[in-house]
């Protein structure tokens, strides 16, 4: 765990932060190109490289080529340690059925050297953005697979997480839907996911572009259009469930809906 404090931390002005990749190498490639064209001085990835999509090994060279630090997600942890499941936290039998399918596929298609690399990812990464102390995590600073949904997370709860971690800004992913919250002296940004659309009927996927001047933070969520039809073809040729392909082609989630709070669920189609 990267837990260095103070002046030794890397300091950035403008960064791109990617959420769950879920084996969507085409979207990751497009997002890296987009972020590079915007002149970021660093890129980070908040974990869950595998799941859902095809050919998980295609993601690794992209991250290595651009020296992108990665936080360990629950999926990465499971694959690295060879656990029985993805620790996604589902309880619904149908959700678990699909989670199991994609986990078994991802596990058997991840090369041993890539599995070993996953094991080296830290649970959190600290750095500075302008004058803000930042903690990058997967779910929450206290638990890798904790869901922080916009309609399920009180501001006072986020503020406590930040003060417990002694940071101004928390970055996370895990839920797959981007959102942000500000409070006096602090902020939380869920950077969304590159792996699948945000359950909004659009085929683009999202990442977060953050910039700070002094303690002044600006956050832009960037939609990434990529060749989603090519991804869908690749998923079909790998015989991944048609329900997953439908999500890529329509922008609506079809599985693993049980964990959504009412407001997020109501905005989706299923």
């Amino acid at each position: 765990v990267n837990d260095v404090r103070g002046d030794e931390l890397p300091t950035h002005g403008r960064i791109a932060v990617f959420g769950g990749v879920y084996s969507n190498h085409l979207a990751l490639d497009a997002a890296i190109a987009d972020a590079s064209s915007r002149g970021v001085d660093a890129m980070y990835c908040l974990g869950d490289l595998g799941a859902f999509g095809p050919n998980p090994d295609k993601v690794f060279p992209l991250l290595r080529a651009h020296s992108i630090p990665v936080v360990r997600g629950n999926y990465d942890d499971s694959i690295a340690r060879g656990l029985d499941d993805c620790q996604c936290g589902y309880t619904d039998p149908r959700d678990n059925h699909y989670a199991r399918l994609s986990y078994q596929y991802t596990f058997t298609h991840t090369a041993p050297e890539n599995r070993a690399w996953l094991a080296d990812f830290p649970e959190t990464i600290r750095f500075r953005l302008g004058e803000l102390d930042v903690l990058a995590c997967h779910g929450s600073p206290r638990q890798t697979n904790e869901f922080l949904w916009e309609s399920g997370t009180p501001t006072h709860f986020l503020s406590k997480l930040a003060s417990d971690a002694e940071v101004d800004l928390i970055l996370g992913t895990h839920t797959g839907i981007h959102w942000q919250r500000r409070w006096e002296g602090g902020a939380y940004v869920n950077v969304g996911a590159l792996g699948r659309p945000a359950n909004d009927g659009r085929t683009e996927v999202w990442y977060a572009l953050l910039e700070a001047q002094g303690r002044e933070l600006s956050v832009d969520f960037v939609p990434i259009a990529y060749d989603h039809e090519a991804l869908a073809e690749e998923m079909r040729s790998e015989e991944l469930p048609e329900e997953f392909v439908e999500t890529i082609l329509t922008g609506w989630w079809t599985t693993c809906l049980e964990i959504l709070p009412g407001k997020e669920r109501a905005r989706g189609k299923f």
Partner: protein, 325 residues
């Protein structure tokens, strides 16, 4: 947690009615009773309607009924004081149970106060939600950035199946209430106690989907609960066997996050409890205030065995199912 929480009802002479005859409270704490430390107070529960309910279900684990006044209603002011305290503690979500929460005349105001701070879930039988209340609930929900979940108990897919447990006419009234909630935009979570064999589950779930589709609820959220063999349910089916309890050996390598008491406390008129199920058990009363109730929860009761086996059955979903830090 410096501020205390004056929610004790014992001195509220003007409010507390004469208690109905009750089974004696037990305090089954032994020297070797396992205890669960409070990892964080994520879920703050309110026994907002006490033990008062308009129904008298034969499987109710706290035997609520119109006559059971052993726990009386919390007032909006009492809830507000606990909410104020919860902000400093960093509570993540709020739950309201009873009895029937909508028996509390201040319930809509209580929800308005709560949804200004965070997400709220109400466990209801949906029989007391007329058109006007449904519209008012939708207004409150739409006005908040947080989700208002309505968790509706339904124990069958037909009047015959449901009313055998919940009383004559309750199916029709619950379905009418559900229909109103769905029409104003809610996606209620239907909770049902499993009263069938595991093998029949797919068939029962199919029947639920069909029955709910008939009232316009075409993407229902369903939650199946295991029976708790206490209260009225112990008389209806069976009580626990002597061996069905949590022992110290069972806690070795066990993930305590699976238990609600690792992350929740329940505010009642008579103090703060470790668990919304163990209302009749003195062992589960941890103090008069939230500050006092941060002590570890003893797994002294046999109902703890059901939670041990099935996980935190009272939460909406399992955001915190595993700890692998």
């Amino acid at each position: 947690m410096s501020k205390s929480l004056p929610i004790l009802g014992a001195s509220d002479a003007g409010l507390a009615p004469v208690p109905a005859p009750r089974a004696p409270m037990s305090n089954g704490i032994q020297a070797d009773t396992p205890t669960v430390p409070l990892a964080a107070l994520d879920q703050l529960w309110f026994q907002v309607a006490g033990t008062v309910c308009n129904l008298r279900c034969s499987h109710c684990f706290i035997s609520c009924s119109p006559e059971n006044h052993s726990f009386w209603f919390l007032t909006r002011e009492e809830v507000r004081e606990a909410l104020d305290e919860s902000v400093g503690i960093g509570v993540k979500e709020y739950y309201f149970t009873g009895g029937e929460p909508f028996m509390n005349r201040e319930m809509l105001g209580i929800l308005e106060d709560t949804l200004a701070l965070g997400p709220a879930t109400v466990l209801t039988n949906a029989t007391l939600i007329p058109e006007r209340a449904a519209r008012e609930l939708a207004r409150i929900a739409d006005g908040s950035p947080y989700t208002l979940e309505l968790r509706v108990s339904l124990d069958g897919t037909t009047a015959e199946m449901n009313d055998a447990l919940r009383g004559t006419g309750s199916f029709e009234r619950a379905m009418a209430g559900l229909g109103r909630l769905v029409r104003v935009g809610f996606l209620p979570i239907i909770t049902t106690m499993q009263s069938w064999d595991d093998a029949e589950t797919p068939e029962v779930l199919g029947a639920f989907r069909q029955a709910l589709a008939a009232i316009g609820y075409d993407r229902p959220r369903l939650k199946i609960l295991p029976p708790l063999l206490i209260g009225a349910e112990a008389e209806r089916s069976r009580g626990y066997e002597r061996t069905e309890r949590v022992t110290p050996e069972m806690m070795v390598d066990y993930d305590e996050d699976l238990l609600l008491c690792a992350r929740a406390r329940l505010v009642t008129k008579k103090g703060v409890w470790a668990c919304p199920i163990l209302l009749d058990y003195e062992s589960a009363r941890l103090g008069g205030t939230l500050a006092e109730a941060t002590a570890p929860a003893p797994l002294a009761e046999q109902a703890c065995f059901t939670c041990y086996v099935s996980g935190a059955i009272c939460s909406n979903s399992s955001g915190m199912t595993r700890d692998f830090s």
